[in-house]
Symmetry: C2
Subunit: 366 residues, 2 copies
């Protein structure tokens, strides 16, 4: 297959880890006989520096005609003085909204070689495998009005949803649960919020179409507790934008390896933006030591969700896990008796697990 | 001193644990020469059953003229079919709002005898001592509009704050930090919400009045992570209503002993409502096995925050900790080589630590 991928390296370690994802995709293309073409565009602080806006029109246009988008990371202290509306992060919010990427998938999985690095006791976290499905283009993030009164004495943000926005994300949750262990936890605050009551009703309505999925409702405060006391309780969690932001970041630290976690932001037709969960890590940018695995696993999600290449995606995932099990890792991970590598060498290890020696040498310079 | 306390036992285990708190207060009154008078009123499901409303006018009036209010718990499956506006929980929201209890204090503390019951690794959680200061009467919980469009195609909730509402809770946060370790973490989502940007500005303004307090800003998603990866990082956390709801419940499970945790909801003049963090536990109601310590420690907070009785509050806290250290506990706690007691016996153990044998016998029937 031929696929066009937009690369948005962004800020901090973004460019370094993006190079790693590209190398792995090159290996996949050779092994599985695909043709991936890449076009790089600016976003975030990098775009501010070069084009004076965190999200150039050009970038949006390119993404709109592509098959998928890979994003490294945005943000850093260099741009922290800017008003929120012109911040690097607003570029990220903007591209999600412009492309209509309403479904954010955030898998959280415990990797056996990393388990001892979890803040939780091993017996709680072993075997943890959660998929958080977060609504990404509505709710408190985008509702209007949002701003202050003229005299500055009051301020308001608006949590707004249309029925259709809730329906489509809830359906995503059910679909994900059906393909996994068949359990869906819908998280809301129905004892307080009207939007949550509508959310809960819609979940009940849609449940009729998914008799094979077991549904439960949890209040967001209860879910925030249960993620810690019993993370294995969860299979798929579906929730609105702000709750999803908080819960997915909470969940991301449970397994002791945030540098490993990928994410996908999708719209209905398959277009998706894929980015690691970790940030731009400006403190280590340019040092060649960043962990590329979260970015590489994001590329694997792209293969699966945007290109329908399940086998290829699994090959990448397996190549990554085999790496860890062989004790190979970057400085941020804590693998017992392991070998600490830099970014490029880590990428090479993954590529080696996917390809022959000669292909690896052709793809990886180091 | 003479003090008038309103007791709102509420639902489930509420009445049982309330009796325990009252016994402990009786012991304090005798030891320290105070006179506490009590009046019991209805709230929650109990009030629905008896008066067809979760918050009778009578209850509000009684609380308004009292020196403090103790609340057991509200809610249970019996009333779960009711619309949110008539639910037991709406009684709780209503009394907070009616009394103007804008400052919710939620201490989270790790108790050495219970530490091994924490879901976190001991080395992370040992010595954890956090005070969460949550805004309680505004924000998304009470903002208008809140409801659906006429055709049901849209729904909205409103996150509304006045400058004054933010100022008074932020000041509470600084005051709490000043009396503790002098570190304040303000939690917001300033990269997305206008209300958070105003919040952050106000924190910066107020910081000038507290040069002795070190302030940091954290995004709510980052705070949800840090609570797990490094709970000892925090001294005082101040945040708005919804973020506070989520983060304080998240924090409540870190130390492995939610049955121990108290809370206070205060207004400026000292009137306060005190309740344990745990719920009404309908599954064990009436069995005489509920843990009364969260309720008793809530009464200790009342002594301190509403009555200014620091010494008395410390005596109660010490009596509780001494109990645990002697291995005495209820079924919900996990104390190594401890003795499991029912509610009344547990209360007796606490009272014994406060009083002579004859006083204990006079107060405790069992
Ligand atoms: C950068 C920020 C605006 C963003 C969000 O809150 O959505 C981030 O936290 C995320 O979860 O991708
Ligand atoms: C019962 C519910 C409305 C309440 C809240 O969300 O404030 C509870 O969770 C709490 O934190 O006291």
């Amino acid at each position: 297959m031929k696929k066009q991928v937009i690369l948005l390296p962004g800020d901090g370690v973004g460019p370094e880890i993006m190079a790693g994802a590209k190398a792995v995709l090159d290996a996949v293309a050779m092994e599985f006989n695909h043709e991936f073409t890449y076009h790089e565009h600016a976003i975030g602080g990098d775009a501010i520096d070069r084009f004076d806006t965190p999200l150039p029109e050009d970038t949006i246009k390119a993404c709109q005609t592509a098959d998928a988008v890979l994003l490294g990371a945005v943000g850093g202290p260099k741009w922290s003085g800017r008003p929120a509306s012109g911040s690097p992060e607003s570029g990220l919010l903007g591209i999600r909204k412009a492309l209509g990427l309403f479904a954010n998938l955030r898998p959280v999985q415990s990797f056996t070689p990393l388990m001892h690095a979890s803040p939780l006791k091993t017996e709680l976290v072993a075997g943890c495998d959660i998929m958080i499905v977060r609504e990404l283009t509505s709710g408190l993030y985008f509702g209007r009005p949002s701003g202050r009164s003229a005299d500055g004495s009051e301020v308001v943000d608006t949590l707004h949803y249309t029925r259709e926005e809730i329906e489509r994300i809830v359906v995503r949750g059910f679909e994900a649960a059906r393909k996994r262990k068949g359990r869906l936890t819908s998280v809301d605050k129905a004892n307080v919020l009207e939007s949550s009551r509508m959310w809960r009703e819609i979940v009940e309505e849609k449940a009729r179409d998914y008799p094979d999925v077991t549904v439960e409702h949890q209040l967001v405060d209860a879910a925030a507790m249960k993620l810690i006391t019993n993370p294995r309780h969860f299979d798929v969690i579906v929730t609105e934008n702000m709750f999803g932001d908080i819960l997915s970041d909470e969940a991301s630290v449970l397994t002791g390896s945030i540098g490993m976690l990928p994410s996908a932001s999708l719209r209905a037709d398959g277009l998706g933006l894929y980015e690691p969960v970790h940030g731009s890590a400006p403190d280590i940018a340019g040092e060649g030591i960043a962990n590329p695995l979260g970015m590489i696993l994001s590329a694997a999600m792209m293969l699966k969700y945007s290109f329908g290449m399940e086998e290829e995606a699994e090959a990448v995932e397996k190549a990554v896990i085999d790496c860890l099990e062989a004790g190979n890792h970057t400085h941020d991970l804590d693998v017992k008796n392991g070998n600490v590598f830099g970014t490029d060498m880590m990428v090479r290890k993954v590529v080696e697990n996917l390809s022959s020696r000669s292909i690896t040498d052709a793809i990886c310079s180091s």
